[in-house]
Amino acid sequence: MATEELSAATCALPEALRLDLTRRIESGELQLPMLPEVARKLLSEEFRERATAREMGELIHRDQTLAGNILRVANSAAFSAGVPIVSLQQAVVRMGLERIRELTMAVVLESGVFQVPVAKERVLALWKHSAAAGAFAKEVARVRRANVEGAFLCGLFHDLGKPVVLLALFEACKQKREAPSEDLQAAAVKELHVPAGHFLARRWALPDSVGDAIASHHLAEQGEPVSDHAVTAALGSHLARWALEQGDGEPAREEMIRDALWPRLNLYPSDAETVLSKKAEVVKFAEAFG
């Protein structure tokens, strides 16, 4: 199932299940998994001992669980000095490479990575999509001369709620010893992924712009007046879908250039061409650990 199909529900979510999922999500007990390959790399002795700042920086940008946890700890009372940490780069500089190394190890061990419990292919696709959306959102911000680091986080986390909802659903169904149907998965994701993502963003103390992008990126797609963060995240998501799921065909490319979100950011077809020209780099980034 492609990432877009997760939102295409054909059945309604039963009220009791909706309440159960909401309770599970808000309990804070769900632990998002990490990409196995990212975790493996972080655990490897060579990486632990010799990773440069650049390698470490690249790695933490690829995995939303790792990125979110780094921001959560960076924003904790022990580190933040009362002022929000709003980018991964800022967190790396403020916390120092050694502390980031320790923290990434702790996240790997906590994340239950070796028990990627459910719908592994789907979770992997979501991770790839979020990494690509983040990378494309960065390119959009570059062209606009807007903040690149903030745009990346908005793209990376815009659908943070989807894996959380899936995880909660599989947990709920585990007790009944039955896997949730495709339709039920789609219904749960459609109904709950925005509030779930927004809840987690608040819990992780992610920047306000990220919470805003999570809450409003679908409204941007509907042409509603929303912030540039939300439009950038939505555009990053469209670009990710184009790059990862729609092949190299010219019609898809043309359609992407005509996407109605570009003018919302005062971007011209020539700007769109510039962003689309980064496809190979973005795909390589998103698939490096997939």
């Binding site: 911000a141 903040n147 903030g150």
Partner: protein, 471 residues
Amino acid sequence: MSARYDVAVVGSGPAGQKAAIQAAKAGRRVAVIEKQSSAGGACVHFGTIPSKTLRETTLAWNAFRRKTRETVDLKLPENTKVAALMAHLDAVIRGHQAYIGDQLRRNGIDYVQGIARFKDPHTLAVRRIDGGLEEVGAGIVILAPGSRPRTPPEVPVDHEHILDSDSILSLIYLPASLTVLGAGVIACEYASIFAALGVKVTIVDKGPLPLGFLDPEISRRYLAGFEALGGTFKGNAKHEQAEFDGLEVSLRLANGEDVRAEKLLCTLGRVACLDGLNLEAAGLCSTDRYIAVNEHFQTQVPHIYAAGDVIGPPALAASSMEQGRRAACHALGLPAGERSALTPVGIYAIPEVASVGLSEPEAIKQFGGCMVGRARFAELARGHIAGITDGLLKIVADAAGRKLLGVQIVGEGAAELIHLGQMGLIHGCDVDLFIDYVFNFPTLAEAYRVAAFDLIEQRQARAVGSVAAGA
């Protein structure tokens, strides 16, 4: 779709606005073609207005700290959001855009959003944001597309770690350290603003002093102020390569030194926005960086004019406005008034710097000598009241110490104060003017009187010396 106008203006920055308004006021049908959805150009969106807004907040913050330091010890928290420091920027920009937009509408000027490209000397093809095309035909074309930062290949600007003056204010947090490459106006403005906000700033430049085009005494004063804010200047330093290493940006110098900081701002000049204009189709050719014009801002194609940054220095908003107005006047055969060579320069650094007329070295070069009067703001009551005691006003007079030739000022209020000197210069006044008339007290303008007294004292001392020598 095709529309026909008397005058088409490409760009809506200071030069484009004034050209369009002048032409519309003369009763002509005018279109402004602009890439952005609202008028104002880089001046409003990336340059003058945003940077001055940040500077204003910084000054207010520093003044508050200075005036309350006996009672509270205030410090900006590390990682302060830049956006929080520019909280009222959106309101400032919206206000400015609304005012410019209203002005264009009031004058019946059509606003065409798109990217212009010459189809022939009288026709511009405009690529709309939705990808569609329309044509604008015009008897007169005034080019005012502005400029963009120059980014040499050895400084790979990514707008993330290595920024230019278009992206520096997109930062969402104050970096712990910043390298500023270049020491011109934009460099020195941003360097001092960030230093005043507590960022560890290092300016790197090939020249021996920052603001090297100014009187060295003034440049040294700026440097002293910058260093007092905690800034460092590395002069006579040739850069080789900038690179982000995953943690910091490293700037390698020719002497082997490695200057490192969390972010780097590249300010190595600006280049005209000529890409895509297809000047050849209009019969125009450009120099490497700019469009060549005559004294009326007319290009080699008589009905095409150019004004503002696109024609090169001084590339100041104030001079661009006047160039735009004059271009429209000449194109329409209207009198534009006498053109003054006396353009004041205002540098919105901390401390502020301004200059008009000749500097001391220029006067010596031009006339073989000069006499200089100085006033330190520490000698002014207003300076003490406002906590501005580190300023300097310098009056440059002829060798006899009488005729006013120029004024240079370093210190808060310099860009406003300079206009008194400009008026004196325009009217060919003697320095005695500043003594003969009463100024408000206490004011910083009193510095003119103090400097004039200094000159008159020197004049009298010289006269006494001459008499003594003659006796």
